[in-house]
């Protein structure tokens, strides 16, 4: 079964630049997919379309049964509750502790206090930060901050985890550590994982499905792909 279905998706920004031309892509539930491509290839636009930060100019996008292209602004939260999103810049709240940052994602959807406590601690345990729950983000390293962001993304048990350059700001060692956590989530919970990256090393090491974009078009979709130089 496909969790993501894109049909003839075109995205043209208001300034006239076209980021995606007639994109067709299906992604199966439970899979782990790398989306790679050089800058300007449209990979970030694709991500934004999936979590409805942008609307497609034309075409159909179905994510987890929701017609994203037709989703009204006031109903966007219904889509976002099915997704966990991780960004390159972590997007943590600096005035909240690690625990509060993760709990925030559950509080805003109205969860009960006891439920919040057990789930927050569980997801912080998965990312290996249970000992730092009272620290503030600025007291953590980049890798640790990204792990907090992952804990926040998975705390509501999303069907799908979308990571936009999750290792962009991290050194190779930390990058690998973060990717291992994401891989574990995919394997143990069956969460569909989409990772946008241009980090050659992790793509080649993990040997997952690789979707390659170039100049707004899909050029390659391999089951066990690698990051080849000719792709970029």
């Amino acid at each position: 079964m496909d969790i993501i279905r894109l049909k003839n998706v075109k995205k043209q920004y208001k300034n006239g630049t076209t980021a995606l031309y007639d994109l067709n892509l299906n992604i199966e539930k439970g899979s782990f997919v790398f989306i790679i491509g050089g800058s300007g290839s449209g990979k970030s636009t694709l991500m934004k379309l999936l979590y409805r930060e942008e609307k497609p100019t034309s075409g159909q996008i179905i994510v987890g049964g929701i017609n994203v292209a037709k989703l009204r602004n006031s109903k966007v939260y219904k889509l976002r509750r099915k997704l966990g999103i991780v960004f390159q810049d972590y997007r943590l709240l600096p005035k909240l502790t690690v625990y509060e940052n993760v709990a925030f994602a559950m509080e805003v959807i109205g969860a009960k206090k006891q439920e919040i406590r057990s789930k927050v601690l569980k997801s912080l345990e998965i990312v290996g930060l249970k000992s730092k729950i009272h620290n503030y983000p600025n007291q953590l390293s980049g890798g640790e901050q990204q792990r907090v962001a992952i804990a926040r993304a998975i705390v509501n048990n999303p069907k799908m985890l979308i990571c936009d350059e999750p290792t962009g700001n991290l050194d190779p060692e930390m990058s690998m550590e973060v990717m291992k956590i994401i891989e574990r989530i995919n394997e143990e919970w069956g969460t569909t994982v989409l990772v946008v990256t241009h980090d050659k090393e992790i793509v080649n090491k993990l040997k997952k499905q690789v979707v390659t974009l170039k100049d707004g078009r899909l050029v390659n979709n391999k089951a066990k792909g690698t990051y080849d130089n000719e792709n970029t």
């Binding site: 999103i85 925030f104 994602a105 805003v108 959807i109």
Partner: protein
């Protein structure tokens, strides 16, 4: 249950936010405070003007003097004619014979008493009178003209010019105060929207993260609306104190009237409580409108 939990969290977040962004909150609060003071004063003024106008209207009487040669029958006739005039409050029409008027005047002063003592029914120079109240003060001139047409009547008096001018002056003062109150409220809402926009601007990131982790627009709005209410409440403290202590003080100092006992002030209790309630409600509504319209812009990410 879920809604209550959300509101509970909204209150907690709102209180935190008021103190975390204290300098901005203080700006909003002082802005609300200043306008509410002016609004409260304008409302007090406007209520008092309405009150004096009513009081003066109540006292406004047309006095009809009956000619000395009028017989009992003529007086009956005058009474009937008066009943036909629409603008007269029939229940309050009082007939006083000259003997009654004499007695009344004697009671009023010692000098009148000694002079009038000597008058008998024949030598009494006073006249029989009708005292008439009108329903609509603005039509008092027409009514007086109609009364003048009745036979056997000499003079009709209603304190003409002065009363007319006073009433028209009061009604224009009132219109100006109403206008000022409405304009001030609008200006305050505008200022609050801008001040709260600043607080919200500093929390743009937080709102966008809330949207990303799946908070509905309603959930995002709750803490901001509650924050607006809290700012409105805090902003109304000083105006409320000014009303509670200031108005009774003014009332005592001025002995309850302005310049002449004709223009009386409204007694402080329960009047000040009405004003306090109005002030607080305006504060809350202004805060709510300000914050909810300020946050709307950031809910499109």
């Amino acid at each position: 249950m879920k809604i209550l939990r959300m509101i509970g969290r909204g209150i907690r977040d709102a209180i935190k936010s008021v103190f975390r962004n204290f300098s901005l909150s203080l700006a909003s609060i002082s802005c609300i405070t200043i306008t509410l003071i002016i609004v409260a004063i304008s409302i007090i003024l406007s209520y008092n003007v309405t009150n004096f106008t009513k009081e003066i209207e109540k006292d406004l009487t047309i006095v009809v003097f009956v000619n000395n040669d009028a017989t009992e029958e003529d007086i009956q006739n005058i009474n009937l004619e008066l009943k036909k005039i629409e603008n007269i409050v029939q229940k309050e029409t009082i007939y006083k014979s000259k003997a009654d008027v004499k007695k009344e005047m004697q009671k009023e002063s010692e000098i009148f008493n000694s002079v009038m003592e000597e008058w008998n029914n024949e030598s009494n120079p006073l006249k029989d009178t009708f005292q008439i109240k009108v329903k609509n003060v603005e039509k008092i001139k027409d009514t007086a003209k109609k009364i003048e047409k009745i036979d056997k009547i000499s003079v009709v008096r209603y304190g003409e010019g002065m009363v007319d001018k006073l009433i028209s002056a009061f009604s224009s003062i009132q219109k100006v105060t109403y206008g000022a109150v409405i304009a001030l409220i609008l200006v305050t809402i505008f200022l609050i929207i801008n001040t709260i926009k600043l607080t919200i601007y500093s929390r743009k990131r937080e709102i966008s993260i809330m949207r990303l982790v799946g908070a509905s627009n309603f959930t995002i709005k709750i803490p901001f609306i509650i924050e607006g209410i809290i700012l409105g409440l805090l902003g109304s403290i000083v105006p409320v104190l000014i009303v509670i202590f200031g108005y009774p003080y003014l009332y005592r100092v001025m002995n309850g009237y302005v310049f002449t006992p004709l223009v009386t002030l409204i007694t402080p209790t329960p009047f000040i409580y009405t004003i306090v309630a109005i002030t607080i409600i305006i504060g809350i509504i202004v805060g709510m409108i300000g914050s909810s319209s300020a946050v709307r812009k950031y809910l499109k990410v």
